[in-house]
Amino acid sequence: MPLLRIEGVAKSFGNFRAVDKLSLDIRAGEFFALLGPSGCGKTTLLRMLAGFETPDEGRILLGGNDIAQVLPHERPVNMMFQNYALFPHLSVRDNIAFGLKRAGMARRDIASRVAEMVALVKLEGLEKRKPDQLSGGQRQRVALARSLARRPQVLLLDEPLAALDKKLRESTQGELMELQRRLGMTFIIVTHDQEEAMTMAGRIGVMDAGRLVQVATPRNLYEAPASRWIAEFVGDINLFNGQVAARENGRLTVSTAEAGRLAVSELWPPVTKEVVSVAIRPEKVKLSRRAPASDAGGSQTINRLEGVVADVNYLGGVTSYRVRLESGAVVRSSMANTARLDVDAYLAGQRVVAWFTADDCLVLEQ
């Protein structure tokens, strides 16, 4: 039995179906991310877990008990709010102690728990400050400490890092992961930032229009997206529409208008439709001046596309190229800048061969 089981949960606001018969299991100690574009229902789902919204149908089982109708203040679940929702009239200490006092904890225990939480989020010396005397990063830590203080069975985090700048966000991501590992607590984070979800979460649930469209590890989500929509939502991807022309030994040949015939290794489960898209991530598309030998990578089948470099974007760690094929279609390629001197760089207007192996391609139903 998982710690948290969401069973056929649905919630509508007027005519708008925010969450549509969604089911999901979350294990104890897991760092789970709900990822999706705004309006996909991820926040509504989180608010139903916290108790701020009541599901129209379905069950939410926490440790086997249905909590769908339980009021927020009676749930062993805590939430860290996107705007932090710190009490402006209370000090850092009193904000953190708020939930402990409500739980009827003894004075001395509250003091020691608050001290422990303050140390955990490295806020020593700021206990007496009011929220408006803190920086954004410090406020974020108070909110985290406050939501962790009651040692909830599940901690819900609603876009917890959205208000921080990039550098602080990255260091806080690491701290959150470290904290979650150390406390062994179950974290469910809602985010629209795929990098954030991929960095922190053990598993990611991608939501679209109130439904979970895929639940997978970050790697599987990226390398084996379940649909064309997910492939485009998570990361960059080149897509070529075509038709299955031949099928043998787990290898498909897809004939596309834009890139000619492409050899693709078929994943399990096999595609059943004839009209498909071939998808290839930009970092798997290599560029070279001459076509590589047919069996460059051993037994790999290689797809080669000839074209002209249309533009070059130098991004520091990688350089991103757009190559225009003879059909007019564009293939994106990103190549790691492994050497400081740009001996391998291509220039706009240069003729190149973009190539990739059959194993690096995905075939997705349209």
Binding site: P72, H73, F81, N83, L86, F87, H89, F98, G99, D132
Partner: protein
């Protein structure tokens, strides 16, 4: 002339304007009142001595100045009529303010929780009585409360009472009038703070184990205190000096300071004592005014 100076001049004038207003319409008249309060009553025109005459030279002015005394203030302390009036004013103002808070807070709270489009309507309903003259509304109350007025007619028709009840010329009628008249001044500042309240704070309180009642007392109420202070002082201060409502609705056996002042001034024609009473009233109201100012400043700082 530099551009900066051209623009600086009207800006400086704008900054001076409120002070100019204060000096012209508060400090100068207050100086007159203060001077009269230190004078003695006389059967003359004006009805007090000395009268400062700036045309008769320095010596005469100095002599007039020497005649000023604090006798009237001494009288205020000796005759318990004044002390009783002051005390009654304070009691009436404190009681009314408490009643206003008890009624105004739930109303403002309810308004702030209405759907957005209904809040404007509720606001209009609170403000609409201002469209009718204050005096007419008080006279309307006299009409409702009098012997054969609407209230007694309803009570008799419903057989709740068997004979008409005397409502007027009683403290209850006065409190009714005061609460009725001042309610908008209590509701509006309360509504202003309550409607600004971040709903996620209440969710956070609930999330951390506070029941809705606890969340109200631990979060909503403390955060609305600036509004409570503003509303309370906005009502308390004018109620202390209230004259019309007690005069029209309350009995004549005990007077509020505003009524005593009026009697002294118009019936007794004792301008100096009336002025002394007015100065004393002003001094009495300084502490709550300072408190109000400090509260406002704290609210401004909190808002940043």
């Amino acid at each position: 002339m530099s551009a900066r100076r051209i623009f600086a001049r009207p800006a400086r004038l704008a900054a001076i304007a409120p002070y100019l207003w204060m000096v012209l319409f508060f400090l100068v008249p207050f100086g007159f009142v203060l001077k009269i309060s230190l004078s003695q009553t006389a059967i003359a025109q004006p009805p007090y001595t000395p009268v400062f005459d700036f045309t008769e030279g320095r010596a005469a002015l100095a002599a007039a100045f020497a005649q000023l005394s604090f006798d009237n203030f001494r009288l205020l302390l000796q005759d318990n009529l004044y002390i009783l009036s002051y005390l009654r004013s304070l009691v009436v103002a404190v009681t009314s303010t408490l009643i206003l808070l008890l009624i105004g807070y739930p109303v403002a709270y309810g308004m702030a929780r209405l759907p957005q489009r209904w809040q404007g309507v509720a606001m209009m309903l609170v403000i609409v009585p201002f469209w009718t003259s204050f005096l007419i509304r008080i006279y309307a109350w006299i009409n409702i409360l009098q012997h054969d007025g609407l209230l007694n007619q309803i009570l008799l028709t419903l057989h709740i009472v068997s004979a008409p009840v005397v409502w007027l010329s009683a403290d209850s009628a006065m409190y009714l009038g005061i609460v009725y008249s001042y309610l908008p001044f209590m509701i509006l500042p309360l509504y202003a703070t309550l409607s600004k309240m971040d709903a996620s704070l209440l969710e956070a309180a609930g999330d951390l184990g506070a029941s809705p009642r606890q969340a109200f007392w631990l979060v909503t109420f403390p955060l609305s205190l600036p509004g409570v202070g503003a509303g309370a002082l906005l009502c308390f201060i004018p109620i202390v000096g209230e004259f019309v409502i007690p005069d029209l609705l309350a009995g004549s056996n005990s007077l509020m300071i505003g009524q005593t002042l009026w009697l002294e001034f118009f019936t007794n024609k004792d301008w100096p004592v009336a002025s002394a009473a007015a100065v004393a009233l002003l001094l009495l109201l300084v502490p709550p005014l300072v408190l109000y100012d400090r509260l406002q400043r704290r609210q401004l700082e909190g808002g940043r």
